[in-house]
Symmetry: C2
Subunit: 482 residues, 2 copies
């Protein structure tokens, strides 16, 4: 053990609380950031389970059982939006407030966590921090400091990132709420109620949670293009990922001077492709389904196809009965939910850049190129291994969970696969199966949500941090995977 580390860190002694916190953060960045993150989210789940099981949290005043309160806590913290109770009627006002706060903590927490892990990975690999734009990085902060090596992430940085994420989320949610407010007034709500509903819907959209505050869900707004358009905007911004939001906001502030990173370009292109392909497939497959798009005009079919495609990113709002979709559309939805949204976003899934890397590898193979290329950049070959690992992790999680739920429930494969992938991808769309599962199945679904949300993000980072012997001989650029 080098002497410097003994001098530098008097583990037991008369240190101040601030120093202890700083050391804890050093641990986070230095040794096992992934484990630290998992512990934080597990603690949040336990806290919210306890609060939601209180009699005061339920409308009936009788308290909520462990399976339902744990499931709701995981669903809220992981911004999944699946439920085993009627979310509009089961909870008291206090319970609703707890859920609202939980969703915000979960969303801001996961954005911060994923961004932070991406930052640590970038530094550990000796690359310039590409997660935040280049101009933001202050070299003096990277190399100065008492507590650790130049690779560590300091407390100030964590706080700064958390603040940036929280402010961004707040600004976007407020913006969405302001757009929703007049619509609510026109619909005849009192100003106070309209403001609350606007804030609630904007939070549920941007955090990609997808709970509705009213018992009928989205049904009153099912043909309201303005309202649904705002929801789509919110879901899209939440699912695109913080690095992309950051780049977009910089581009708005200093137009024309922005160099878009490969990650931003790849995320936007892949998201747009998936949105388009999904919408076209839904339009074609549901065109004459009498229970869904059949009775609609062609224009509305097209709009609702795009809305459904957006919600698979992991929004979770639905204007049509999901269990009435054709089997073909449900399978398309399964695939879209499994892919999910952008890295460091409130969306789940294996992430759009992960699937993009797989296809870029296949394209390179088909062309006989030595390396993967996109937008005039070479992509290091080792990132393909990371992408493959993330896909295997996701596929294994979904397969094991589906097999267990099939065996527990003996329900049909289409419903089980749909709800399991919805849980893994934190999409929250449901065939109704989740609400009818016995307790054993509810716990498996809760575990699936947790693994899909926290597991995927920390898994990718944990693997990337192990690449210590990687040498870069050429100028390359690294998109975020997972």
């Amino acid at each position: 053990m080098p002497a410097s580390s003994i001098v530098r860190r008097p583990r037991y002694g008369t240190r101040s609380f601030a120093l202890r916190v700083r050391d804890a953060v050093d641990d986070f960045s230095g040794r096992s950031p992934s484990r630290f993150a998992i512990i934080i989210f597990a603690i949040l789940v336990v806290l919210f389970t306890m609060v939601l099981s209180l009699p005061a949290a339920s409308a009936s005043g009788r308290g909520t059982g462990l399976a339902d309160s744990l499931f709701t806590a995981v669903s809220v913290i992981c911004v999944t939006g699946l439920s085993t109770v009627d979310m509009a009627t089961h909870w008291s006002v206090f319970g609703e407030v707890v859920i609202y706060i939980g969703v915000q903590i979960g969303a801001i927490g996961v954005l911060t966590l994923a961004s932070l892990l991406g930052l640590i990975v970038s530094r550990r690999l000796g690359l310039r921090s590409r997660l935040l734009a280049a101009g933001e990085a202050d070299p003096s902060r990277t190399h100065a400091g008492v507590a650790g090596s130049s690779q560590a992430v300091r407390l100030g940085e964590v706080g700064g990132l958390l603040a940036t994420v929280a402010v961004s989320a707040l600004v976007i949610e407020l913006g969405l709420a302001v757009l929703l407010f007049p619509r609510m007034l026109i619909d005849g709500l009192a100003p106070g109620s309209a403001a609350l509903q606007s804030l609630y819907y904007s939070a549920m959209a941007f955090t990609n949670t997808g709970f509705s505050p009213n018992a009928e869900g989205l049904t009153p707004y099912a043909s309201d293009y303005y309202f649904l358009g705002i929801l789509m905007l919110g879901v899209f911004l939440g699912s695109i990922g913080f690095p992309v939001i950051y780049a977009l906001s910089r581009a708005l502030r200093t137009p024309g001077r922005q160099r878009w990173s490969l990650h931003v370009k790849l995320t936007l292109l892949t998201s747009a492709t998936l949105l388009g392909v999904g919408a076209v497939l839904y339009f074609a497959l549901e065109f004459s389904n009498p229970a869904t798009f059949g009775p609609m005009g062609v224009g509305e079919k097209a709009f609702q196809s795009l809305f459904l495609s957006t919600m698979t990113r992991s929004g979770g709002f639905a204007t049509i009965p999901i269990d009435q979709l054709n089997g073909s559309s449900m399978l398309v939805t399964d695939m879209l939910m499994f892919i999910g949204g952008g890295s460091a976003s409130t969306a789940g899934g294996i992430k759009v850049t992960t699937i993009a890397i797989l296809f870029l590898a296949a394209f390179a193979e088909a062309r006989g190129n030595d390396s993967m290329e996109a937008f005039g950049r070479r992509i290091p070959a080792d990132i393909l291994r990371l992408a493959v690992s993330v896909v295997l992790w996701g596929a294994t999680t979904v397969a094991v969970s589906t097999i267990v739920i099939l065996q527990i429930s003996h329900a049909a494969l289409d419903a089980v696969l749909f709800d399991v992938i919805s849980a893994f991808g934190t999409s929250g769309l449901s065939t109704g199966l989740t609400a009818s599962l016995p307790d054993a199945g509810v716990y498996v679904m809760a575990a699936t949500m947790f693994m899909g949300r926290i597991g995927t993000v920390t898994f990718a980072a944990a693997l990337a941090l192990r690449q210590r012997r990687q040498l870069y001989k050429h100028p390359e650029e690294r998109p975020i995977v997972g």
Copy 2:
């Protein structure tokens, strides 16, 4: 254009037939071997469709419609074993003989094709021929010859490979038939009939086709461990792949002196792992299913689990009603059938080495190693791209086919996914859906079988042949993928 190539190949002139054939083989090896292979198999399918549609081929003497005769021809040539007609009663003796011959041509053809493509790929990449064992390669043959470069595969070699494959298949099938013959006699069949049935079953096992000659299928032998054991041996040998059979037979002839190639070790380990995992899962999931293993004793449950697991490699024989399996077991079967058997085998699927490469990549990633390693060998990183490409090809084929069949039939996802993957993986196990599809669905299934069988083999080779700029700096070993 270099002068030598003009002098060397007088394209139009007074050349002999032998020279033309030699040039055609050079074309096969030199320019687009994959396209050539696809054309050969397409011609075989057309020929067998025509013959099977004849009135003489059907028991009723009325001829068979295009959908059924095409489907049967594809199923036979691709040794899939799915059927839209009752295979035991629909065809005349002439038809049965045609099917028997077709299965042999299909199996030997695909073994030769895949081996040949593997040989071409090995040479093109400048590696020593590892497909056949090192002692077999004659350097003089590789560098001499009039017609082409040292990379080309000459007519004599094609013929030699074809002969080796055909003799191996014949020897193994005869061996299996000899083992089956006494069993048939004991069961009370006349010697002639017993010999025919033995030959039929051994061919259906080794070629991994899975048709039964009698109307009751395997039911009379459902508890006959000897008979089922021989079938398992035949299916296993067929599904393990010609390079492995070749290595095993050399090891039998010259024991103790054999150095097993990485491909052989990887294929055997992965196949054994899949067999074991499948058997354990079936045992656990079907333990108390009254329609399948429920009424059996524990020992028989274990044996039947292993039998079912072997048949998913792509044997296609079934002793239990597949549509009565639990949904969980059906999903396990889907995954096993998608993976399939060994490279250059009569089995289908993406191949066991392909999935092994994906997991080796994830292991390397988890350990922080620079390169994939197995059995003390480094595996070149570019092979991961090939594996990913093959998986994407397979997943896309299955997804598109499943969506189309779901939309055509509006059947349940579990049945559709099962039969589509069975077609893609040339497994031949069926929930019964295939036999009940309308003609449009039958054509889609036929296309799926063809793409799974011929597409996967030629796709992998076509991609591998494009890697022209690959440089190898270190001694490495290349397993066959796809």
